[in-house]
Subunit: 598 residues, 2 copies
């Protein structure tokens, strides 16, 4: 379904490409919102109003604060304007005309934007009474914006151009989709995401907390959260050891000399925490790479030692503004499942190929079956801005592309998205409610081996520079945990569940048998609890269900006499009586298979 | 054997108690050394010369530096003076006489000491030409100092009164024992300790390193060291989980507010690293306790939840002068095997009793069969200086004493050695060459529960304050690793060994079979390597032996044909051929038993 649009030069066209069409549609809805706001609140001045990844926003400058109650009024006014089928009317202006026009309207911020703009040919769009400085394109008219395809969402504070030194603005967020059905799906996803919010579930399931007294963005892992974390770490550790990785441990602090050599001190300084020891500056590590390099450099390396694959669950700390912190998903301290591979050029393809297998294996283990891959490469027009030789980039890119092709993977090529030190692959996992999460990354580094003068002795007896790869599978264990909680809505698969089964004695007299069952299960290595409170069975079952415990094992007279347990599972309810041994065998099967159900 | 001594008042006596006798003997040998130094180098002025834990030292003030070559001359002069059987001649002086005497001799530092001293009755001792300001007692005469019972050991720089702002001194270390046999044993221990130096073995066995570029006192755990560390951590984790501990993870940084509440900011500030985030001061954690307390406080606690035992391998950072850092034994960053127990008063005895069992169990697991226990209690004359009530101290001390008694443990009561917040037990393990290492500690804390206002709801429905215990078994994993390396002289027991077996193919044609054996062992979960270099078998065996690998598995024609391996172990040599399966069974037996040999 093509979208009829009007370009700034007045030409009319059609846009087929859905991503492009959606962006135009949202941008136009943003103008529609601005028109509605200015009509309702004439004392409002305009900032900017772009489309963003899940909708759009407009930043306004107004002495009075907007309130939540204004939002439905704005939305109603937008519908009214939309129903009038107003044109998005472009006009080409000279710089002088543009300045004159917006000065007259008292739109200082627009004048500022115009003055920053190069070139003489500028444009604005008129929509009803609203005139906005804008490059377009826009939809042809508001009749193309379905009245049930948008929603005014929320209010937030912001700063002009995102700079805290500038004027405070009031941002109104909205969202829009090409069809009302798409909007409904999005709102349903938001509703579902709210129920799954890892901060809410983290509290209810007693998994983690953040402490005001200790400071924001710092995660305290409670016993139950730590159980899940340790299962994840143990699993990864076994997987990595089988694949020829070696674990290392490196300190959290180091002299700034290390970070000067690595270049972080010059290019990453604003993200690092620094302090002094004996009048010398030290850094709390924001990355593990320079530490792994120290270990590489601690001895002579020969081609016979390569590839070396150093892995660490390395906790790093980075500057983040307190305003952007969000539960486990955006924090100041996090533990990367980090690894660095040092290899010869001949080994690169094999390493990349193994890495992609590993990413797919780990992803499946955690029940993510959909993913998107992005290959970030150089901007070919700015080759001089990148580290590494022509041959480095060709070798790296070809290894990445060949390995993905061999696995039958689909990917999106992101031109110019590579960082300056090498190309990379990012893997975004799609969670149970369709949201993408960037987790795994495989990244070439053409600069650190040079900066640290890394070498290995080749078969020719001469020193050579190894190729260095950064890679993470989960990214950060904190963030991954947050994603997992939301992915599973707190109902972890049995192998990950902090409590795998709760024993529920029906009455006080069944407690001794209940404890016997508990012990038997604990000795089998299962994570089990007993609910021996003096409460009704139904209440205890409901509570275990609310805690998302996979199995409830009810024991009463019948079970005690027959030496059995009555098994309920959280998804299917009552499964009848069975022996403890057969239950253990069944649950072990689930654990080994890492099955998601029951 | 009693030691004949002369007290400052001129009285002669006998000292039987060996610790006291040794201290007097060493102090007198220190005076003997000072007499020898002043006789050889008349431009020398005196600082102080006390007995210390493994000998004595004397700090001298002299314009010219002493050299290593001076040490044998000093020792020879000491023997000469000793052979003259000079008396240690005391003399009581008034303050004025003392100042006059030492001023005349130009001994400014002695005058400074005299002036700081309260009271009118002072004393000095004369030994030949040496007059020293001294409280005594001393041995009766130098004839009592056996010429083969002492040794001048080494030179070091120091500062007057240990303060870097003061005059630089030259320290000469010596050692002395009551018998020549004791001295010989000590020197042999030192010689053995040198061979076992964990820094040397750490390098040779590729276990860890310290990086100049990253800074001193920060340990980089290499793959082989990390293997050992992970075995230790996994072992402890399993032991603790079986004993009802729950693991937690807490961040390495926190607001200074947390450390103000805990009191560390006021009383421990000089040991902490601080830095800023958004103009607020943060602290790199020197302790894990406040973090565990945050988790305790994250929810309501009932008496039914207690005891809560939170464990963490928590990495902490503390200020240490670069001059005192020493390999893994004294560092700036280390990982405590830390735990905090929150319990009711009624649960205290049970917890202490379990803790002592745990200490003994873990000690034996790591092949330490000797230990010393110290119980540190209040100075009863300064009761007002301690936190906690009378009843707290009585309850705590009685629980400690009763539990030790019940286990048949011996302990030394250290009056006044308790820290202000509660009594404690320290356990010193005696290593393979007889050196004590303070590792385990169990410590009551009467202050943090109050400072953080900790509570649990009792059966009476009212809030009560829990008892809090700090405890560590290994102390610090870094330090423990250093001790283990020296204890085992690098030859780790099989269950800890970073490489448990090396497969050694005799010739190139045996490599495929060797790799097959390697794979079989690796699949059985063993840590194995293959030495497939083109070197002679004897050379490879010697190298594996030097790397202290417990088993060398030689494979040649005979073994390949019969599907066997020829087993050598590092202590007993050739053990003959056996099947891979029977070797796996045997090594698994060693691992499960945590046996030290072979």
């Amino acid at each position: 379904m093509a979208l009829k649009v009007r370009y700034a030069d007045g030409k009319v066209g059609e846009v087929e490409e859905p991503v492009e069409a959606l962006e135009i549609y949202r941008h136009s809805t943003s103008h529609l919102m601005a028109a509605a706001v200015c009509s309702l609140f004439p004392d409002t001045h305009l900032g900017i109003g772009p489309a963003v990844s899940d909708g759009f926003f407009y930043d306004f400058d107004r002495a009075t604060n907007f309130t939540e109650d204004d939002l439905p009024r704005i939305e109603a006014k937008m519908r009214e304007l939309a129903s009038r089928d107003l044109n998005y009317q472009p006009r080409i202006l000279t710089r002088e005309e543009a300045v004159g026009l917006f000065s007259k309207k008292g739109e200082d911020l627009k004048v500022e934007l115009i003055e920053e703009r190069a070139g003489q040919q500028l444009s604005c769009y008129q929509l009803g009474d609203l005139v906005d400085f804008c490059l377009g394109p826009h939809v042809y008219s508001t009749g193309l914006i379905h009245p049930d395809s948008f929603r005014v969402m929320s209010l937030a504070g912001s700063y002009w151009k995102g700079d805290e030194g500038n004027r405070r603005m009031q941002r109104i967020y909205g969202t829009a989709f090409l069809t009302p059905g798409d909007l409904q799906a999005h709102l349903a996803q938001l509703e579902e995401a709210k129920k799954r919010d890892h901060r809410k579930l983290g509290r209810e399931l007693d998994l983690f907390s953040v402490s005001e007294e200790a400071g924001p963005g710092l995660i305290f892992w409670h016993p139950k959260g730590t159980r899940v974390r340790l299962v994840i770490e143990d699993f990864l550790r076994q997987v990595l050891l089988r694949r020829g990785y070696e674990f290392v441990v490196t300190p959290h602090i180091a002299r700034n000399a290390l970070w000067r050599t690595s270049g972080h001190y010059d290019y990453y300084r604003e993200n690092m925490y620094v302090f002094n020891i004996e009048d010398e500056e030290f850094v709390i590590k924001p990355m593990n790479c320079p530490g792994h390099i120290q270990i590489y450099k601690s001895g002579m390396r020969s081609y016979r030692d390569l590839p070396l694959r150093f892995a660490e669950f390395g906790t790093v700390y980075r500057q983040e503004k307190s305003g952007v912190l969000h539960g486990m998903l955006r924090v100041r301290g996090f533990t990367q499942d980090d690894a660095h591979i040092f290899c010869t050029r001949e080994q690169v393809y094999g390493e990349i190929s193994d890495l992609l297998d590993l990413v797919l294996f780990v992803m499946q283990a955690f029940a993510f079956d959909k993913y998107q891959v992005e290959l970030s490469v150089r901007d070919e027009s700015r080759r001089q801005d990148y580290a590494g030789t022509e041959e480095d980039w060709r070798m790296a890119e070809s290894a990445l592309v060949q390995a993905m092709t061999a696995k039958g993977m689909q990917w999106k090529r992101m031109e110019g998205e590579a960082v300056f030190y090498g190309p990379k692959i990012d893997v975004k996992l799609i969670d149970a409610i369709g949201r993408p999460w960037q987790l795994s990354t495989v990244q070439f580094d053409f600069t650190l081996p040079k900066r640290f003068d890394l070498a290995y002795i080749g078969p020719d007896g001469q020193p050579h520079q190894p190729v260095m790869l950064h890679r993470a599978l989960l990214g950060s264990i904190e963030r991954f945990m947050g994603v997992l909680i939301e992915h599973f809505a707190g109902a972890f698969p049995i192998w990950l569940a902090p409590v795998q089964a709760t024993v529920i004695p029906i009455a006080v007299r069944h407690q001794p048998y209940g404890r016997q069952v508990l012990e038997q299960l604990a000795n089998a290595g299962l994570r089990v609890e007993i609910d021996d409170r003096n409460e009704k069975m139904g209440y205890k079952i409901r509570e275990a269900q609310a805690k998302k415990v996979p199995f409830m094992l009810v024991v009463g007279d019948k079970e005690a006499q027959s030496g059995q347990i009555s098994v309920r599972n959280r998804t299917e309810g009552d499964k009848g009586a069975q022996s403890v041994e057969s239950f253990i065998a069944a649950i072990r099967g689930h654990i080994e298979a890492r099955s998601v159900r029951p």
